[in-house]
């Protein structure tokens, strides 16, 4: 019983992080219709930014995450303009492979710039945990989860209530009509891409206190992020949240019954089954 409860708690904590990391990917797809295979690399970039903010400026990664968000937002907006915008009307295969090329470039660019060292931060709370009854809640996970919840909430409010958020939703739902009401859809794409990769970088920064950063760290998350996003329904930020929590809990619970080795097998079987039954994800109809 305690074990099951513990697994669910762990699953929710990690799932919240999956959600914020994946919602950026979903945002990019929802608004631009581009499947970005390089997306997980921005998680790596975010971790590096937060790492250097810690190593040079002495900032806790939870604060460094804001720097990561801003820096990667700007970089993403620039990349959108130079690389993504020219292929928005190209066939999907071309988009997929442009982003695959970007993935190679970012991963190996990081290797060239920072070397292959494994870096991680030392925080005061790295081994602390709360004991609630029989349940252990580790502090770094809890902080990462809370940061994710807060930023997820801010993203939701931004998309729902702000003028730019409304314009972004309009662009996603009907680009032509968006132009007709005076929305600069190019600008919206740029913001969406910047925000999408920025959020993922932010997610990377908040998990840095318990993880390690190295150039290929993004590759651990590629398949995971797509699983989350597709489970929730491509393009839906709310879906990414549901998908993230679902993946976290599935992983934690499957470890109780099956060997850890089969964790991803269980996940993918659930993934394929969900898509077979509900081809547009768990949250049908909801949109960015």
């Amino acid at each position: 019983m305690t074990q099951g409860l513990q697994a669910i708690v762990d699953g929710i904590l990690i799932g919240g992080v999956y959600a914020i990391v994946s919602s950026g990917l979903s945002l990019v797809f929802g608004i631009m219709g581009v499947v970005n295979f390089a997306h997980a690399e921005f998680l790596m970039v975010g971790m590096f930014v937060a790492y250097f903010a810690w190593a040079i400026l002495g900032l806790d990664p939870l604060i460094g995450s804001l720097i990561a968000l801003v820096v990667v937002f700007l970089a993403g907006a620039g990349l959108q303009r130079t690389l993504i915008r020219p292929i928005l009307k190209a066939p999907p295969v071309a988009q997929i492979f442009l982003t695959v090329g970007l993935m190679f470039t970012l991963e190996n660019g990081a290797l060239l710039l920072f070397g292959a060292d494994y870096r991680s931060v030392v925080t005061s709370y790295q081994t602390e945990s709360l004991h609630l009854g029989g349940i252990i809640v580790s502090m770094p996970y809890l902080f990462a989860f809370l940061m994710s919840v807060i930023s997820g909430g801010l993203l939701w409010a931004f998309m729902r209530y702000s003028r730019t958020g409304r314009a972004m939703r309009a662009t996603a739902q009907d680009p032509m009509a968006a132009k007709l009401v005076g929305i600069n859809t190019d600008r919206m794409h740029q913001i969406a891409f910047g925000l999408g990769v920025g959020l993922t970088a932010f997610g990377g920064a908040v998990i840095l206190p318990y993880l390690t950063v190295y150039p290929t760290v993004g590759s651990q998350y590629v398949v995971l992020m797509f699983t989350v996003v597709v489970l929730g329904g491509l393009g839906s930020v709310a879906g990414a949240v549901v998908g993230g929590l679902a993946v976290g809990v599935i992983q934690a619970l499957s470890a109780l019954v099956f060997p850890m080795q089969l964790q991803n097998l269980v996940l993918f079987v659930v993934f394929i089954a969900v898509l077979a039954l509900r081809p547009s994800g768990l949250l049908k109809g909801a949109s960015a």
Binding site: D10, Q126, P140, M260
Partner: protein, 413 residues
């Protein structure tokens, strides 16, 4: 330069002309490669195939650094004297993380650069793939990969300088039990956690065998996927297993995750790592004080030959990690063998590698102070050591003949 190598070179030039005539894309590569091979007429070309990109890049870089250091020293001291002072000319290439590519790269070095031997390729899967090429071309492959299979297939041209994975696993177990006993603790229940890679599984098999032989219960025996994003489920299982010792066999990312998660959950049973992630400077940097006292098995350690390994630290700024030590030893062995063979012909070189005990210069940097290959090509003088993080240094604490410091068993690593 030997006759056969000359032949190959001229044939490769013919080749390039024909392929250009044939108009294939591969022909574009030829001028580059042919020129590389031509650059150093009198040198002995040595192939270095290590991962320089992808997840294993760090280990590939460490290995390359060590090989470069040793080659530079040998060249500075006058090269291979029996070959008229020929210099070691390293042909370095990226194996990537794909065995096919690694094998192709090795093929290229043999065909285009006439390398006399190949060093590499850190990961066992890459080395196995390369060995299929070197064996068919009769070129010696010198490696520090752990895989048991490497020297158990009857291949004549594979030389493995380290203890095999299963030996490491057994030593990891036996040394730990001995250390526990020495501090008055009796071990009844242990846990094994390993990444589901060639390295993890073969070392876990060694641990399992040793536990069986010692009659000690393995209460958790769990493989997990390499590069997990969350170790919590694993540690939950460990906590409820009631093990007195844990043997995690993992690379750095997972090692750090495992140790941190254990500490967060207040679990401080002794942790005895399976080399890899537990014996590199980044481990200690990442965990700071948490890393202090952690034990690990290691196929070699820098405190065994400090006067040599300090040169590495001086040049590159970090202590000489085990894959660097082993690759340095291999380079030293290769140079000595070339010296003895007085020839770069593969047969002569193979004979020279098999015949002798290498205990001079960098060849002596391995545990036991020497290298001697048995008929399968395995270094029978190698044995693993138990090391412990004491402050920022890795100190050899077991077996007694190699120990440079005392094991702190009470300090719960």
């Amino acid at each position: 330069m030997s006759k056969s190598a000359e032949d190959q070179r001229s044939s490769s030039l013919v080749v390039s002309r024909r392929t250009i005539l044939a108009g294939t894309g591969a022909a574009l590569a030829m001028p580059f490669i042919a020129r590389q091979g031509m650059a150093a007429a009198k040198d002995v070309n040595v192939g270095v195939v290590v991962p320089l990109s992808g997840a294993n890049a760090q280990f590939g870089i460490n290995s390359r650094n060590a090989i470069q250091l040793v080659a530079d020293e040998i060249n500075a001291a006058g090269g291979i004297k029996s070959l008229g002072g020929a210099k070691l000319n390293l042909i370095i290439a990226d194996s990537t993380s794909t065995p096919t590519t690694a094998a192709t790269v090795a093929q290229r070095m043999i065909s285009q650069n006439s390398v006399v031997a190949v060093l590499g390729a850190f990961a066992s899967s890459l080395t196995l793939a390369i060995s299929e090429v070197t064996e068919r071309r009769g070129i010696p492959l010198l490696t520090m990969s752990f895989s048991d299979v490497l020297t158990e297939r009857g291949f004549k041209n594979v030389f493995q300088v380290v203890s095999k994975g299963s030996t490491l696993g057994r030593a990891q177990f036996d040394y730990s039990v001995a250390l526990a006993k020495a501090s008055g603790e009796t071990i009844g229940k242990v846990a094994i956690m390993y990444e589901d890679t060639a390295y993890g599984t073969s070392q876990a098999e060694g641990l399992r065998q040793a536990a069986k032989a010692a009659g000690i219960a393995v209460v958790l025996d769990e493989a997990y996927p390499l590069g997990v994003t969350d170790a919590t489920p694993l540690i939950n299982k460990l906590r409820s297993s009631g093990a007195q010792l844990v043997f995690p066999v993992s690379y750095l990312n997972d090692s750090i995750l495992i140790v941190r998660t254990m500490r967060q959950q207040g679990l401080d049973i002794p942790t005895i790592g399976g080399a890899a992630g537990y014996v590199i400077p980044d481990f200690r940097k990442a965990l700071a004080d948490l890393g202090d006292g952690v034990l690990s098995i290691s196929p070699a350690n820098y405190d065994q030959a400090p006067e040599l390994t300090e040169r590495f630290r001086k040049r590159f700024g970090y202590f000489m990690v085990h894959e660097a030590i082993e690759h340095a030893a291999l380079t030293g062995v290769l140079a000595s063998a070339l010296e003895n063979a007085k020839s770069t012909a593969p047969d002569a070189l193979r004979a020279a590698l098999l015949g002798a005990t290498f205990d001079q210069g960098w060849a002596s940097v391995m545990t036991g102070g020497s290298v001697r290959f048995d008929e399968t090509g395995h270094n029978k003088n190698a044995y693993p050591v138990m090391v412990q993080w004491q402050k920022d240094e890795l100190v050899t604490v077991y077996p007694p003949e190699a120990a440079k410091g005392k094991a702190q068993w009470s300090k719960r690593g």
